[in-house]
Symmetry: C2
Subunit: 415 residues, 2 copies
């Protein structure tokens, strides 16, 4: 249950804190770090001296701009790009992409590949993933030994321990323990992450002012996904990656959802649902497997041009999202929302109905003040999030290694 703090944990945690401060701030001086962490100058000096000695941090030239001050100039500390490297693997519908990223966060090498994820066999899918990773590892420019961690993201449900994909819309196969597979194959620690959670992490790094302690990232794509950060931590379910916003019930016994159930938010707001409604196929029509981005854009254009079934389809999507958000907000209170994915580009068509619906709910009490941001392209976000996820793992578990993980401290997500 609860566990005491041992003396040796102290240094470990404070080391992690210093590394985190440098990762966040970019090039902070020792003095700045002392200020943000609340530790004394002596401590910061000692820790950063260690970290520099170990090749984790480097001293960079004093920041040029502010050299009009008197006194000894500050020396910036920055992450040593060569301290380590991580790999990200993003598996989405018909698309596989991998990148190698240095310790400072720069992409060193990448590869992308189309494949037919829906029809591939289980082994073929796993094979493609290991093969693409192997090709990157065998890249002659790359020092393989420096790859400290692999983070793999997939659309769908993963388990809380970040080991396996439990279910995904991009493949009929279930329960693939990707993290274990990659670990066994390459001997590199790996984790399996949910795509929307990675989006949330990326948003936080991109715009920490807007996306700080509490916010929501919603993926408006073929399906509807969500990444949720609450009180500064990534929120996951207790068993699975959780946050299945798309499968909250909007309308009991309502429209047929891709998941086989009825009335889910997704069954009104997913691309296939918008498509189905725009084509007036009826709510019982079997969801189509995929709608191309081009088709969705055409739908949006049509909806903007005339008041017809297309516009009504987006209105319904907005209504479902609005009631869903309203129920969510009843539980967690309103927070900034980022709408990500193709249909985020059509948010102008969705927003009016969404706001009207949310105003009908308990969570929408201050519906005017709830702010939405849109980002049509989810892939770069997912990749960035994966990279930061893997890098912070290295920060914490390799460069600030502690006593062997002890009960009560394990499984805390840091967004």
């Amino acid at each position: 249950m609860s566990v005491g703090i041992r003396h040796d944990d102290l240094r470990r945690r404070n080391r992690a804190m210093v590394i985190a401060a440098v990762r966040r701030a970019g090039q902070p001086s020792r003095t700045e770090i002392a200020a943000t962490t609340g530790l004394s100058h002596s401590t910061i000096s000692a820790i950063s001296s260690d970290l520099i000695g170990e090749g984790i941090l480097t001293e960079s030239k004093p920041s040029e701009a502010g050299s009009l001050k008197r006194g000894r100039p500050q020396v910036g500390l920055s992450l040593n790009p060569e301290a380590a490297a991580v790999m990200t693997v993003v598996l989405s519908l018909n698309f596989l992409s991998v990148a190698v990223i240095d310790y400072a966060g720069q992409v060193i090498s990448e590869e992308q590949r189309r494949l037919d994820t829906l029809t591939m066999s289980r082994d073929a899918l796993i094979g493609e993933c290991t093969a693409i990773v192997r090709r990157r590892l065998e890249d002659p420019d790359l020092d393989v030994r420096s790859i400290a961690r692999i983070a793999l993201a997939i659309q769908g449900i993963t388990d809380t321990r970040s080991r396996a994909m439990l279910w995904s819309p991009i493949t009929p196969h279930t329960d693939i323990a990707f993290a274990d597979i990659l670990e066994d194959e390459f001997g590199i620690p790996a984790t399996m992450e949910n795509d929307c959670n990675m989006m949330a992490i990326a948003l936080r790094w991109r715009d920490p002012d807007r996306y700080r302690d509490d916010f929501i990232a919603i993926l408006l794509s073929h399906g509807i996904g969500m990444g949720l950060v609450l009180k500064g931590e990534l929120f996951t379910g207790t068993h699975s990656s959780g946050g299945e916003f798309g499968h909250m019930i909007h309308q009991p016994k309502g429209a047929l959802c891709r998941c086989g159930r009825r009335g889910c938010v997704e069954a009104y707001a997913g691309n296939y649902a918008i498509w189905r409604n725009a084509r007036q196929l009826g709510e019982d029509a079997e969801p189509v497997a995929d709608v191309s981005d081009a088709d969705m854009r055409a739908l949006a254009t049509a909806a903007r041009e005339r008041d017809g079934p297309e516009r009504e389809a987006y209105r319904k999507a907005g209504e479902a999202l609005g009631y869903g958000l309203g129920s969510l907000f009843a539980l967690i209170d309103p927070a900034p929302v980022a709408m990500v994915g193709v249909s985020a580009a059509a948010f102008d068509l969705i927003e009016p109905a969404l706001r009207e619906a949310i105003a009908q709910t308990a969570g929408g009490q201050h519906s005017k003040s709830i702010s939405f941001d849109t980002e049509p392209n989810e892939l770069p976000l997912i990749r960035e999030g994966c990279a930061m996820r893997a890098l912070t793992f290295v920060d914490q578990e390799i460069f600030a290694p502690g006593v062997q993980a002890r009960a009560g401290l394990v499984g805390k997500n840091v967004a």
Copy 2:
């Protein structure tokens, strides 16, 4: 943002840990504490010696039962009842109750009082609360100086910082900063808690095996409330006490809710909703102010006797609760549920429809394994929860006082 750990925090945290271990275990020996906290025997010995010296813990006679072991017998440590005392104030519909509790958790003194909360003026309501507290404080048997904290619970929405009631069904008045009012009046630190959160805390103390890290307490009363513990911590909204399960939307544009909106879960499952449906008044009928427990029991009896509108009313309640839980479970994964309140006594009437509905949802994937427990009487639970809340505050903030609360450490709820 993130903050370093200072050397002096160490002792403070480990002290708190030892106190917590004693409060949980009852009469643990030093050896047991060392085992559960992971700290060394020397450390536990030193800390407990301090705590005994300060009068916080006492040594109790070795536990009798297990005296068949060889070796030096264990000396049990227990909380010194006289170390401090706390007061709980529970304000519910037409009822005010207060109790004084010693440091070991025993009730020393209590008082209860009926009043007409719905019609009272704001000042009268506040006045009743301060008066009843004052009467307890002036109790000649009581050493006033030892009251270290007051925890006040109310049905309704409170703010995250536990200072004020924002809205409550028991009174038309809003935004009453009860915690500040009591603090100013008596100079004793006070907090304002949500009733369902206190229920959750109490359940955890009562049955830590069933209610450990993740569980849900649902109040089935005139309104529907929820207390939620996730990953071992009380879950609250980001601004308010949150967890307004009763106001998740079950049916867009559906039945009229007491909150003025439409289609909330409560508008189908609250006592007034069951009453309204049983009387076949229609979904637009204005919610009645109160239904007596006796009337609700009569309703349940009628529903058990014949298949009529009463039974249908309970079925509708079950359906709304089921879909609501399904949506909730989509977000957080299934967890054990405790149904508390008058209508929990009619859970046999509610359960079939509830299970059927939940099986239609994403969160109900393993609906058979979701287990429900019932507890018809909410008041004792709320009182117990309040007491434990106040006592753990004393444990942590008075008997293990730290550096002045620093950013990042504040606002963590410990259930």
